[in-house]
């Protein structure tokens, strides 16, 4: 039976190929000719990334292209959401116009691509070009896949809370420096008034207070318990979810579903005066400085991410902008040359857009100045510098069994809790049950 099916599949495949031959003569012919000649001329690399071109990538690529006429890089922007990531995945799977280099955002996306064999192992290239991973990025900051490095991170993401300094001053409060989620909720309640909500946290799987508290309690592989099953029934998760729900129920945050349906985003909420503080990160910097898009008369201040208990300094950020080379790229050497340059100097042009380089030799004082630029009147430099140079324990995510499924389970069940469809006990038990099942299925 099986054999029969396999051979018929093979037959189907062969006929596809035959059809391919007659259907597409013109196109495939010219394609082949094009790539044959490319060896002599300048190599053109396609680099896919999620940062809008004008927020740094254009400056980076222009600089490189000027210095390297033989290796030209073309930046292709994709939107880092489900649809955009699907586009990148299909681009990597398919043969035409495939990227040579690409950024993955979040382990979830990275692991999926590693598992699918889309990322080229880099160890040989690293040796060949004498790129010192430990010195530039730190060996601990790169997680190997099948004993080989498959990506290098270009951005150290730091999560923090951005506050409306004027509202804070009016309430007679200081910028928090070491605080808990309970403190966050209390401050939000205090800042809350009719027109301006106390706080805003983007609804979705990525920014869930329950997830943050879980990470605080277990920074390494927080989604997984020691025995490999899911960690969602952890009291820390309960704590975070309850705080978040209480913020919704008391009218301190825009209700979950409403924020989701209206696609609210933290920069807009904060800068148009609709929320007094938002959970965000360095990636918001560009919007925070943009006074044409968001005209405003108040400065913003920065507080580190709240903790489950004080004194821990756990941060949900960490390494990101995972840069990989497409396994099918025909110009891996050229691609790696660009990669090495990007990680040592190129990504400095990403700083004004708020992307902090992974390069360990970067001076944080200078970095803060670069980020703030001439916007000193609307950005509180002291608290920003404090947040940027903090000594954090970053969350690490090494395990990946069923990661994207359980991430989704967490969001869906939390959503039901926030919308009063189920109790917290039911939420935690269903989360655990469904996630365990997903992990089990992934291990098979």
């Amino acid at each position: 039976m099986n054999k029969w099916l396999k051979s018929s599949a093979a037959l189907a495949l062969v006929s596809t190929m035959v059809l391919a031959g007659c259907g597409n003569n013109g196109d495939s012919g010219s394609d082949a000719a094009g790539s044959g000649e490319a060896g002599k001329k300048a190599v053109t690399l396609k680099l896919w990334g999620g940062v809008p071109e004008e927020n740094g990538p254009k400056a980076v690529v222009d600089k490189w292209n000027q210095a390297h006429p033989d290796i030209q890089v073309e930046y292709v922007r994709y939107v880092n959401d489900d649809t955009g990531n699907t586009k990148l995945d299909t681009a990597l799977m398919t043969q035409s116009d495939a990227p040579d280099l690409f950024f993955s955002y979040g382990e979830n996306n990275l692991y999926r691509r590693e598992n699918a064999g889309m990322t080229a192992p880099l160890d040989d290239l690293i040796k060949q070009y004498n790129f010192n991973v430990d010195e530039v990025i730190g060996n601990d900051n790169v997680i190997k896949y099948n004993n080989q490095i498959h990506y290098l991170p270009g951005y150290k993401n730091i999560d923090f809370v951005v506050l409306n300094k004027k509202a804070l001053d009016e309430a007679g409060e200081q910028v928090p420096t070491d605080w808990t989620w309970d403190d966050f909720a209390a401050l939000a309640a205090k800042l809350n008034n009719g027109a301006m909500k106390g706080a805003f946290v983007t609804p979705g799987a990525d920014l869930l207070i329950g997830k943050f508290t879980l990470v605080d309690s277990k920074p390494n592989d927080s989604f997984y318990a020691e025995d490999g099953t899911s960690n969602f029934n952890n009291p820390a998760m309960q704590k975070g979810l309850e705080i978040q729900k209480q913020l919704y129920d008391n009218g301190i945050m825009v209700p979950w579903a409403e924020a989701l349906a209206n696609k609210l985003d933290p920069a807009n909420e904060l800068l148009s005066g609709k929320a007094a503080m938002v959970y965000g990160g360095a990636w918001m910097m560009r919007d925070l400085k943009d006074t044409t898009k968001y005209p405003r008369d108040f400065p913003v201040a920065f507080a580190p991410a709240p903790q489950l208990e004080t004194g821990k300094n756990v941060n949900n950020g960490g390494m990101n902008d995972f840069l990989s080379i497409n396994q099918n790229s025909s110009s891996k050497d050229a691609a790696f040359q660009f990669m090495a340059w990007y990680l040592t100097e190129g990504n400095m042009d990403m700083v004004p857009g708020g992307r902090i380089p992974t390069n360990m030799s970067v001076d944080f004082g200078q970095l803060t100045k670069l980020i703030v630029g001439d916007a000193t009147n609307i950005i509180d430099e002291a608290s920003l510098s404090n947040v940027l140079k903090g000594n954090y324990t970053f969350a690490t995510r090494i395990k990946s069994e069923g990661y994207s499924q359980i991430n989704n389970v967490m969001k869906e069940e939390a959503e039901k809790f926030f919308m009063n469809v189920q109790t917290i006990d039911k939420t935690l038990s269903t989360m655990k049950e469904r996630a365990d099942k997903a992990i089990q299925e992934a291990q098979q």
Binding site: T16, L19, A20, G23, D27, P52, D81, T90, S96, D265
Partner: protein, 280 residues
């Protein structure tokens, strides 16, 4: 008596015209709101009572849409290109095959036609996944051909053209045959000119379907530069999530040309849709 009856019916007509005129305006209210919002500044957008005519006119939204960072001209060009090639190709292959099915006798015709009929009810979702695999292997993903080709070879179009050709009397063709005309001449010179209304109907239907198509481009196109208007529009929304006035300006830009075309050719559109009774 007669006069009063006539007066009464005029009165009914007048009252109904007012009532349904109001209903018709309500029906187009979303369009009117969109139009008015597209000229507003974000701060005025949600003011209530609604300012139908903005106090401060703001053309920046349109400037941003047409000359900003997204190539709206390009989206238009892509949509026009795809739609025109698809429609012309579809009319051509459909009328050829429709003519043969209706007017020529050959072995296997009935079986073949039955096969065509059978595929008519296949939902596009079934074809989506295998077509993706096929186009991937053919290297057609991320190319306009992946949108054009499925439209060019239309089973439904063939079926409709067959129905129209069937209504032509056989005598005309017999006369041509006696005069020694070949099959191509019978088709191109004699039959086709007589089916102009049918061609217009098919043209309008395929035009509307392909101009508004969303799912196929969403799956098959990757590069921003290849996007059609509906895709470009959703891309816009994803990037400017709460900038509603800008989004409305983009929506107006996407809708207005089609609305204008429909208004001008309304008779054809309405007859076309009415005579087909189908939407893709």
């Amino acid at each position: 008596m007669n006069l009063s009856l006539r007066n009464r019916s005029i009165a009914i007509k007048a009252v109904m015209t007012v009532i349904f005129g109001i209903l018709a305006i309500i029906a187009v209210t979303p369009f009117l709101w969109m139009l008015s919002a597209s000229f507003k500044q974000p701060a005025d957008l949600f003011k209530y009572p609604i300012e139908w005519i903005p106090k401060k006119w703001d053309l920046d939204n349109y400037k941003e849409v047409w000359f900003g960072q997204y190539p709206f001209f390009l989206y238009y060009w892509n949509s026009i290109k795809i739609t025109v090639i698809t429609v012309v190709g579809c009319l051509f292959t459909s009328s050829l095959a429709g003519f043969a099915f209706a007017k020529l006798q050959f072995k296997g015709k009935e079986a073949l036609f039955l096969l065509y009929l059978a595929t008519m009810i296949i939902p596009s979702q079934i074809l989506l996944v295998p077509r993706f695999v096929l186009f991937d292997k053919l290297g057609l993903i991320n190319s306009h051909w992946s949108i054009i080709l499925p439209g060019v070879f239309s089973v439904l179009g063939t079926f409709m053209m067959r129905q129209f050709f069937s209504t032509l009397p056989n005598e005309i063709l017999e006369a041509a045959r006696v005069d020694g005309a070949g099959y191509w001449r019978m088709f191109w010179r004699i039959s086709l000119p007589l089916t102009k209304p049918a061609l217009v109907t098919l043209l309008i239907l395929t035009f509307t379907w392909h101009w508004n198509e969303y799912e196929n481009p969403l799956i098959f196109l990757r590069d921003n530069d290849l996007y059609t208007i509906p895709l470009g529009l959703t891309n816009y929304v994803d990037e400017n999530s709460t900038n509603y006035t800008l989004i409305m300006a983009a929506s107006v830009s996407a809708l207005l040309p089609l609305i204008a075309i429909v208004a001008i050719f309304q008779k054809w559109f309405i007859e076309g849709i009415a005579s087909s009774g189908v939407k893709g």
